[in-house]
C-alpha cells in the first residue's frame, strides 16, 4: 500500500517537484501548452483542473469498493466529466471572458491524462485522506507549471504580466511566444532548466555523501 511508506504531507509535496506531473511525468501536455499564452488563462485553467482533480479523487477514493474493475475506467470518466461540466457552466456564468479564452480546453480537461492517471494510479488504491492530499499536491504542481509557462510566455509575448505592462509601451513583443511554436520551445527550455537544477541537486548530494564517506574511512 503506497501510503504505508509516506506521510500524507509527503504525498502532497511530492507533486510539486519530485513527481511533478508536467516536468517529471509529462502529463496533461495539451492544456499545458494550449492555454498558457497568458498567465491569467494559465491560472484559470490550473484552478479548473485543481477543482476537477481533487473532486474526482475524493469521489473515486471514497467509492472505490463499489466500482467493479471491468467498468472502472468508464465510471471514472463519468465522474470526471461531471465535474468538468460543472466547472464549464460555472465559468461560463461567472467569467464569460476567460471562458471564451480557454474555449474548447475546459471540456478537454476530461481528457487530461493527469486526472484519469491519478484516479487509476492512486485514488483507487488509497484512503480518502491520502487521495485528496495526493490530488492537491499533483494539482498544485500542475498549477505551478502552468503559471511558470504562462507568465514567461506573457512577459515575452506581450511585455505584460496579468495584463500589466512591464517594460513600457514600445517593448517589442515576441509574437512567437503566443503562437504554438513558442509554447513548445519555451516549455522545452523550462524542462531543460528543470533537469539542470535537478542534476545540480543530485551532484551536490553526491558530493556531500562522498565527503561523508571519506571522513568515515
Amino acid at each position: 500500500m503506497a501510503s504505508s511508506k509516506h506521510t500524507a504531507y509527503e504525498e502532497m509535496i511530492k507533486g510539486l517537484w519530485r513527481d511533478n506531473p508536467v516536468f517529471v511525468q509529462v502529463l496533461g501536455m495539451c492544456p499545458m501548452l494550449a492555454v498558457t499564452n497568458s498567465a491569467i488563462n494559465a491560472i484559470a485553467m490550473g484552478l479548473a483542473t485543481f477543482f476537477v482533480l481533487v473532486g474526482s479523487s475524493f469521489l473515486v477514493s471514497s467509492l472505490k469498493q463499489w466500482i467493479p474493475k471491468q467498468v472502472r475506467i468508464s465510471v471514472y470518466i463519468v465522474i470526471i466529466a461531471t465535474f468538468v461540466t460543472v466547472v464549464d457552466y460555472v465559468l461560463l456564468a461567472m467569467v464569460p471572458a476567460i471562458h471564451k479564452e480557454l474555449g474548447a480546453f475546459i471540456p478537454l480537461i476530461v481528457a487530461n491524462c493527469l486526472i484519469l492517471g491519478r484516479q487509476e494510479a492512486f485514488a483507487s488504491k488509497n484512503t480518502v485522506k491520502f487521495a485528496i492530499m495526493d490530488a492537491i499536491g499533483m494539482a498544485a504542481g500542475f498549477l505551478l507549471a502552468m503559471f511558470a509557462l504562462g507568465s514567461v510566455r506573457e512577459i515575452l509575448g506581450e511585455g505584460k504580466l496579468f495584463g500589466i505592462s512591464l517594460f513600457g509601451d514600445n517593448f517589442e513583443p515576441w509574437v512567437i511566444m503566443i503562437l504554438p511554436p513558442g509554447g513548445f520551445i519555451t516549455l522545452g527550455l523550462l524542462l531543460l532548466l528543470f533537469n539542470w537544477m535537478t542534476e545540480r541537486k543530485q551532484a551536490f548530494v553526491a558530493q556531500v555523501a562522498e565527503a561523508e564517506r571519506s571522513k568515515a574511512s
Binding site: T82, Y89, A104, P107, L108, A111, P180, L191, L192
Partner: protein, 192 residues
C-alpha cells in the same frame, strides 16, 4: 475554395491538430520514438477519430437537441464505450490486428484529440460529411506529424544529443521547430 477541401487541408496542414491546436500531445511526445509504432498509432487514431465523428454527429442530431448540457459527458461516455467495445471485438476476432492496431486504442480514447475533434466539430456545426472529412484530415495530420517526429527522433537517438537535453525537453523543442516549419502553410488557399 471548396469548403470540404478547405476543411481537410486546414486540419491536415494549416491547423494541424498536434502542431497548431495542441491536441493529443501525450501520445505525440511519448510514443513517437519508433517510426513503426508511430505510424500504426497514427492509423489507429485516424480510425478512432472517424468513429468519433460518427458518434458525435449521431448524438448531436438525435440526443443532444433535447439536452445540450449533456454534450461533453455523453460524448466522452459514448466514445469511450464504443471504442472499448471495438477493442474487445478486435481482440477476440483478429489477434493479429489487435497487436498491430487494437493495442493502441485505450491510449487513444483517453487523449484530447478525440474529444477535441468532437467538440470542434459541434462548435462549428459540421454536418456528417464535413465531420468525417474533418476527422480524416485531423487523423492524417496527426499521422504526418507522428511519422516526421519519429523519423527525427530515431535519427537523434543514435546521434549525440547532449545527455541533459535528451528526453522530453528535446522532443518539445524539435516539435517547436516542426510547428514553426508548419507555419509555412498558414493562409494556404485563403489568400486567393
Amino acid at each position: 475554395m471548396n469548403d470540404l477541401v478547405w476543411i481537410f487541408i486546414s486540419a491536415l496542414l494549416v491547423n494541424n491538430f498536434v502542431l497548431a491546436y495542441f491536441l493529443g500531445l501525450c501520445p505525440f511526445l511519448g510514443v513517437s520514438g519508433k517510426l513503426e509504432t508511430s505510424f500504426r498509432l497514427g492509423l489507429a487514431t485516424t480510425f478512432v477519430l472517424i468513429i468519433t465523428a460518427l458518434c458525435s454527429w449521431f448524438l448531436n442530431t438525435y440526443v443532444l437537441t433535447h439536452a445540450p448540457y449533456l454534450r461533453l459527458i455523453s460524448f466522452i461516455v459514448v466514445i469511450a464505450s464504443t471504442v472499448q467495445f471495438i477493442e474487445m471485438a478486435i481482440k477476440k476476432l483478429s489477434p493479429a490486428l489487435f497487436q498491430s492496431l487494437g493495442i493502441f486504442l485505450p491510449l487513444i480514447t483517453t487523449n484530447c484529440a478525440i474529444l477535441g475533434l468532437a467538440i470542434f466539430a459541434t462548435n462549428r456545426g459540421y454536418g456528417l460529411g464535413e465531420g468525417l472529412i474533418f476527422a480524416l484530415g485531423a487523423g492524417a495530420g496527426f499521422t504526418l506529424a507522428m511519422v516526421l517526429m519519429a523519423g527525427m527522433r530515431e535519427e537523434a537517438e543514435i546521434g549525440n544529443v547532449p545527455a541533459l537535453v535528451r528526453g522530453t525537453a528535446f522532443n518539445l523543442i524539435i516539435s517547436g521547430i516542426l510547428s514553426m516549419a508548419f507555419m509555412g502553410f498558414a493562409g494556404l488557399f485563403s489568400s486567393t
